[in-house]
């Protein structure tokens, strides 16, 4: 019986573990083989050299990082604000949450297309500006002459689409903070802002870690929204990976790109975990 109790948990996680090994580790090994393989056989860094030396690589790396740097902090701030507001509501809280999380149910390509419908030459924005008399003929915003508008359109679409995933995690996290802490803070003179910085934020660190890691990884994998709004005007890492695989039919290079994205994601995950770590002994 004792032995059973000890073994049972492992037996129970076995199917999931096998599943993960089969569909994650195995493809990962294959991809690595492709990335580090070379045409003459054996190991080499040729693929990495090729993708990094390509003229579009620095641009797509810069674009991806810039986009993440612009989008994720705004999403974090928005999600925190929305989560604190929702948590203070007594009635209608679920309703508001449902509405705010609707964009989550939309695929990223569809989201990109929705925002394309706003920004394109015959789109809502143009008809609105035209109607108000700001412009006298429709303007094509999403062109290579307006790289910042393309950037802003993509950022807006991403913020609209993917803030809710952080929101959901943060709402759950805020719900776990006992309200006595706020009462004590009230009595001991902490303003609402101080309560946020001294209590909510530190006690939310585990949820913030989860939300940020998830969001940052997804931000580095941005693809469909960019494809819809920027096309080739705004190269990003994932788009380049796609191009290597399906346009240039160079799966070795595509595999190398995939590993580079993975490495960046892991790097940022470690940084986030480090910054938001809970000091040893400080239980939350």
């Amino acid at each position: 019986m004792l032995l059973n109790a000890r073994i049972l948990p492992y037996v129970l996680i076995l199917p999931v573990t096998l599943f993960l090994c089969l569909f994650f580790i195995y493809p990962f090994v294959l991809v690595s083989q492709q990335a580090f393989g070379s045409s003459e056989g054996g190991w080499s860094l040729d693929n990495f050299r090729e993708v990094v030396d390509y003229w579009k690589f620095p641009i797509s790396l810069k674009n991806t990082l810039l986009l993440a740097a612009a989008v994720v902090p705004i999403q974090l701030a928005l999600a925190l604000l929305m989560a604190t507001m929702v948590s203070k509501m007594e009635k209608g809280r679920d309703m508001v949450l449902y509405i705010w999380t609707i964009p989550l149910g939309i695929s990223d390509l569809a989201a990109g297309i929705i925002w394309l419908a706003i920004f394109e030459q015959s789109g809502f924005l143009n008809s609105m500006l035209n109607g108000m008399g700001v412009i006298d003929k429709p303007v094509n915003f999403l062109t290579y002459q307006n790289p910042w508008i393309v950037f802003v359109a993509i950022a807006l679409a991403e913020i609209w689409r993917a803030t809710a995933i952080m929101l959901v995690i943060l709402v759950a996290g805020i719900g776990l903070i006992p309200k006595e802490y706020y009462e004590a803070a009230d009595v001991f003179g902490a303003s609402k802002w101080k309560q946020f910085t001294r209590i909510t934020f530190p006690m939310l660190r585990p949820s913030l870690q989860t939300a940020l890691v998830l969001r940052v990884i997804l931000a580095f994998e941005i693809f469909a929204v960019v494809a819809a709004l920027g096309g080739t005007l705004f190269p990003v890492l994932m788009g380049e990976t796609y191009a290597y695989q399906f346009d240039l039919l160079n799966s070795g290079a595509a595999a190398a790109m995939a590993l580079i994205i993975l490495a960046i994601s892991i790097g940022f995950t470690l940084i986030i975990l480090r910054i938001l770590r809970v000091p040893k002994g400080a239980s939350i």
Binding site: E180, E183, F188, A190, V278, A282
Partner: protein
């Protein structure tokens, strides 16, 4: 000067009436204990004074100023919470200094005040620890230290010693009282432990089902309970009660004996006496001993008089066997009378 006045305060949670029309004045620097059974509304009253709960009606005044519309931090109070509310992500030092930091006191003053109150509460060695790692009793002391560090006009304490072991509690009881007396703070102290209440209070407010039944000095609450509830809640074992029937003006018949009592025209009263206020005698109430418990300092005998249970505390040298008949004479100046209808004391 921080006199606290509670005027006609009532509180209901939906249909449930947690406090009915509370009136209470606590003098400057007084140590007031709110004593009552679980659920009688002690915490609710304290939280209304603190501003964490809004009274349904009534007013709260501190130091001659009406404060019930102010936010907690503007009331000049500090509080020890029943469930500590010590921040687990901060060190003990930062917990104790929390309020001081909010007041933006200079670093060295924070350090000095934190170290002083940590010394008072015997937690100097814990200052660097995170409070998530502390035991319940240690956390409770951090909570008390955090409140003391504020040097408030009024300190509100909700069962601040309930998680300490008996020995430490006795020690802390005396120390806390000393610390508070020295700091000239007005204190409201909630407890359901009557020994704590008796030993610490300047005055005790006995609460029952959302009412303050009596607010008086510990000895008065003990000797002259204003209502039967107080008589049976305070004292261990509590007061004994026997039914009394009228036997002429100012005379009452209790279990075949006649006693001098109040001169009223009530159809019946309850005769009450504390267990230690009886002694074996030639004449008196006739009781049959049922259970004999030698407690060292004295002998506790549970007996029966007519149908009623009756406890007496006798000298530990007395020899009593179960089944034995005792004749017990009540000390006449310690006899009290209650009206069975209103349950209030009758003089």
């Amino acid at each position: 000067m921080a006199e606290i006045q509670i005027k006609n305060v009532a509180k209901s949670f939906g249909a449930y009436q947690a406090l009915n029309n509370i009136n209470l004045t606590i003098a400057d620097q007084e140590f007031m204990v709110l004593l009552g059974a679980s659920g009688c509304g002690k915490s609710t009253l304290l939280r209304i004074i603190a501003g964490l709960e809004t009274a349904t009606s009534g007013e709260v005044w501190i130091g001659g100023k009406r404060i019930d519309h102010l936010s907690p931090k503007d009331r000049g109070i500090a509080m020890v919470f029943q469930n500590y509310a010590v921040f687990p992500h901060l060190t003990v030092f930062e917990n104790i200094g929390f309020g001081l930091r909010m007041q933006k006191l200079p670093n060295d003053e924070v350090t000095q005040r934190v170290e002083r109150v940590a010394g008072l509460m015997h937690i100097e060695m814990l200052l660097k620890r995170y409070s998530g790692e502390l035991s319940g009793g240690q956390r409770q002391r951090v909570a008390v230290a955090r409140a003391l560090a504020m040097e408030p006009d009024v300190i509100l304490m909700d069962e601040p010693l309930s998680n300490l072991d008996a020995l430490l509690r006795m020690e802390m009881r005396a120390e806390l009282k000393g610390v508070l007396a020295e700091s000239k703070t007005t204190a409201i102290y909630v407890t359901h432990d009557q020994v704590e209440a008796m030993s610490m209070a300047d005055r005790i407010s006995v609460m029952h089902e959302g009412n303050i039944v009596q607010a008086a000095s510990p000895i008065e609450v003990y000797r002259d309970p204003a209502a039967k509830f107080v008589a049976s809640f305070i004292g261990n074992p509590p007061m004994n009660f026997l039914p009394a029937t009228p036997a002429g003006a100012g005379k009452w018949q209790v279990s075949g004996q006649t006693f001098d009592g109040p001169n009223t025209d009530k159809a019946g009263l309850q005769f009450a006496i504390r267990p230690e206020d009886m002694a074996p005698a030639e004449h008196g109430l006739v009781a049959t001993a049922k259970i004999v418990e030698p407690l060292g300092a004295h002998l506790l005998v549970t007996c029966q008089i007519d149908e009623a249970q009756f406890r007496v505390i006798l000298d530990s040298d007395t020899v009593v066997k179960p089944g034995q008949t005792l004749t017990l004479a009540p000390q006449s100046d310690r006899v009290r009378w209650f009206d069975p209808e209103t349950t209030l004391a009758v003089a």
